[in-house]
Amino acid sequence: MTRAFALHLGVLRTVLRRMFASKLAGFLNILVIGIALSLPAGMYLLLQNAQGLVAQLSDAPQISLFLEMNAKAEDVDRLHQQLAQHPAVAGVGFVARAQALEQLKQSTGLSDLISGLEQNPLPDAFVVHPKPGDAQSLDRLRGELAKLPGVKEAQLDSAWAYKLEALLKFGRMGVLILASLLSLALIAVTFNTIRLQILTQHDEIEVAKLIGATDGFIRRPFLYFGATQGLLGGIMAWFIVTVSLLLLNGQLGALAQLYASQFTLHPLSFGDSLSLLLFSVYLGWLGAWLSVARHLSQIGPR
């Protein structure tokens, strides 16, 4: 066990020595892999953040019913009962027009402007919490409520969130396609690196075969090289994404402040970071494996 371990460690040491011997070329390879991986990883991260935002907003969809300006108190009461008994409604809240104005004053800091108004421009309103359902059933409910007497307008607050959700699905497909293409590119980069290595080590491979090396022995350093290069490329991608995020967050903070909000982008989670590294290791390994399988048999003797 320890002997086998020492053996593999020895191979890894050789591989690292080779990698650091070709400083610039090795670094450029790692940079290429890092950039190729950071594009889909970065897009994925942005989507994750957008999705988090959408989830927050569309979590509890609600329908706002704005009543006619001249609605009478008994009409409002009747409507309240009607809504409370509706089978598709889970709960209903009433927002009186005076209360709404007060809220507006407090939350926006526009109190001076509002105080200057001659009359309250806001209507009475109901906030209807529908029972859970898909976008279509919610939209049907909205249409139904809009036709109730005394209701001037019904707004489904989450409608845009559903649209955004559809947009995100589109974006996810885009990331998937990009990730697939760039993964192929990564495999190709490793394939070619290993091909060049096999060419330069032609003599060593031939001699090793002649004096009794198994295919596994010959293959091992190349596979390790591919995997290590993949790992370093993955780490590079992680840094590119993380640094970009920090830069973006700096600007985003200033932007969000203008909107009196505190929105920031979350970095890659531990699980996602691990997936990124494992995936890049796997791709490097695969590229090396394909290259070795293709080129090693061309070196005699069999």
């Binding site: 002997r3 020492a6 053996l7 020895g10 003599d203 060593e204 031939e206 001699v207 090793a208 075969k209 002649l210 004096i211 009794g212 090396a213 198994t214 295919d215 022995f217 005699g300 003797p301 069999r302």
Partner: protein, 216 residues
């Protein structure tokens, strides 16, 4: 130990390197294969290491039919052979020590044990003081001895040497032959090919004489 039975080897293109060759070599024997260049000496050695395969007939090494071995078994056959190649096949990207170390790395020897073995092998061929040198800096005779050190470091039962004295002057050639004699004395089986009859005159050892692929 080594047994050829009606072995025929034809290369692609139709050149017949060996025709109906049969012989036996017992364990611990030292045998020379002689003949002009192109007589089939190298082919004969390559068949033993399964670098080439016979078209018909059988090549037995340790009672194993080498010609029928599967690819996965070849490395283990070759580990039992020490091969000294005509063109040396030394690696110039590493020093003398690491060249000799390679067979031990391949077999998975541990670090300390292999260091001892490498130095013992270098000592036998008189290159212990050159272990840090690059093989390219060695003379022809020294390169040949390095090649021998690499072949014996694994302590194989059989040594195959293809023209080991090929380009060496008489004094160097005698030196190399003396090294082989010493292996013979400790029980190794040796098969040495040479076109240079002069190194054989005083040694009353067995000879296989090839002429245009036919054993005389």
């Amino acid at each position: 130990m080594i047994s050829f039975n009606q072995v025929h080897k034809r290369y692609p293109g139709g050149y017949e390197a060996l025709k109906n060759v049969s012989f036996d070599i017992a364990e611990g024997e030292m045998v020379f294969v002689t003949g002009h260049s192109g007589a089939g000496k190298s082919t004969l050695l390559k068949l033993i290491a399964a670098i080439e395969r016979p078209n018909s007939g059988s090549v037995l090494v340790n009672n194993q039919n080498v010609g029928a071995l599967k690819g996965g078994a070849l490395p283990y056959l070759r580990r039992n052979l020490g091969i000294i190649f005509q063109d040396h096949k030394l690696l110039f990207d590493r020093n003398v020590f690491d060249n000799v170390l390679l067979p031990l790395q391949i077999c998975g020897f541990d670090h300390r044990e292999s260091g001892k073995r490498v130095r013992a092998a270098l000592d036998k061929v008189g290159l212990l003081k050159r272990e840090k040198a690059n093989p390219i800096a060695l003379s022809g005779g020294e390169q040949q001895r390095l090649c021998i050190a690499r072949a014996i470091v694994n302590r194989p039962a059989i040594l195959l040497a293809d023209e080991p004295t090929g380009n060496l002057d008489a004094a160097y050639a005698r030196e190399i032959m003396a090294i082989f004699s010493s292996f013979h004395q400790v029980g190794a089986t040796l098969l040495i090919s040479t076109h240079d009859e002069s190194v054989l005159q005083d040694s009353g050892v067995r000879r296989l004489i090839l002429k245009e692929g036919v054993l005389q």
